[in-house]
């Protein structure tokens, strides 16, 4: 039997260090997120700046927010600048922008696209 198709995707954008995340990200464990975010983590250790476009992520559960925070903590450690893009039309993304501003003032999350 074939494994079900994932509800989400993590794709590299056209420019180096740009990432486009899409779909429903309600993964079951930190390990599952570590696998999903592996290419993003690899890129932030090699580049001075990366961007994550979350605007097409319909849902992200609290394990995902934890995993995203872990990415930002690592970026801070590696001195990699991170810009996040979100959509103001998606409630959790507006909330995330507010949380991130409080916790990671050095990173920008734009929720206008």
């Amino acid at each position: 039997m074939k494994a079900p198709r994932p509800d989400y995707s993590v794709d590299a954008g056209q420019s180096p260090g740009t990432w486009l995340l899409r779909g429903v990200m309600r993964l079951e464990s930190p390990e599952a997120y570590a696998r999903a975010f592996e290419p993003i983590v690899a890129s932030l250790t090699k580049l001075p700046a990366i961007s994550l476009d979350l605007s097409q992520v319909v849902f992200l559960n609290s394990s995902g927010i934890r995993a995203l925070a872990d990415v930002l903590l690592l970026a801070r450690e590696k001195r990699c600048q991170v810009t996040l893009f979100g959509s103001a039309a998606v409630p959790w993304q507006k909330k995330l922008a507010s949380s991130l501003t409080a916790l990671f003032p050095e990173f920008v999350m734009r929720v206008d696209r």
């Binding site: 079900p4 509800d7 429903v24 309600r26 993964l27 079951e28 319909v58 849902f59 559960n61 609290s62 394990s63 927010i65 934890r66 925070a69 039309a89 998606v90 409630p91 959790w92 507006k94 909330k95 995330l96 507010s98 949380s99 409080a102 916790l103």
Partner: protein, 179 residues
């Protein structure tokens, strides 16, 4: 006489809801196919949105909150084959989202520590601390991001059984619609 222990800000339900849905789920089903957590949350949110003007927003918020509660039951039920009950009740000004399940002793201990703190301290500070301590974020996130009150009742176990926890999240209708 009730032996219920109340933890944190447990919002008492007003008389009758304007609208409600309650579903029984078996945690083993959720564990074996994790996306069922989201399916249940989405279904319950879809069912309830007709009571709100800003339906797309209400769907997103209700599903987000319900998903955290259903995932909670999937992860922390004492016996994965004992059914849990999930509900959403719209009381007009306030919306109550709830999960009732037999919880592991470890989970009860964790709620006894977290919920009183969430009820009294700044939710952002609690969220930040749990992020630093690498502990679960779900309930602190709901309190912080959705200005929700989070409380629980714990019903002691029968002989040989496990305690039943009713975890309740109360949100204003304005917050559900992000007005």
């Amino acid at each position: 006489m009730s032996n219920l222990t109340v933890l944190g800000a447990f919002h008492e339900a007003p008389a009758q809801p304007l609208s409600a849905i309650e579903m029984e789920v078996v945690p083993i089903d959720l564990v074996t196919e994790w996306r069922r957590c989201g399916m249940i949350a989405d279904f319950m949110a879809d069912y309830m949105v007709y009571g709100f003007e800003r339906r797309e927003t209400a769907r997103s918020v209700l599903s987000t909150v319900m998903n955290e509660l259903v995932e909670n039951a999937a992860k922390f039920s004492a016996d994965a084959r004992t059914p849990a009950r999930a509900s959403i009740r719209n009381h007009g000004e306030v919306v109550l989202l709830e999960i009732r399940n037999e919880a592991s002793d470890k989970h009860v201990a964790s709620l006894k520590e977290l919920l009183p703190v969430l009820a009294h301290d700044d939710a952002t500070a609690v969220f930040r601390q749990r992020l630093q301590d690498r502990r679960g974020l779900g309930l602190a996130l709901l309190a912080r991001d959705y200005r929700a009150t989070v409380g629980a009742t714990v019903e002691p176990a029968d002989a040989g059984g496990k305690a039943t926890v009713c975890l309740r999240v109360a949100m204003s209708a304005a917050e559900v619609e992000q007005r």
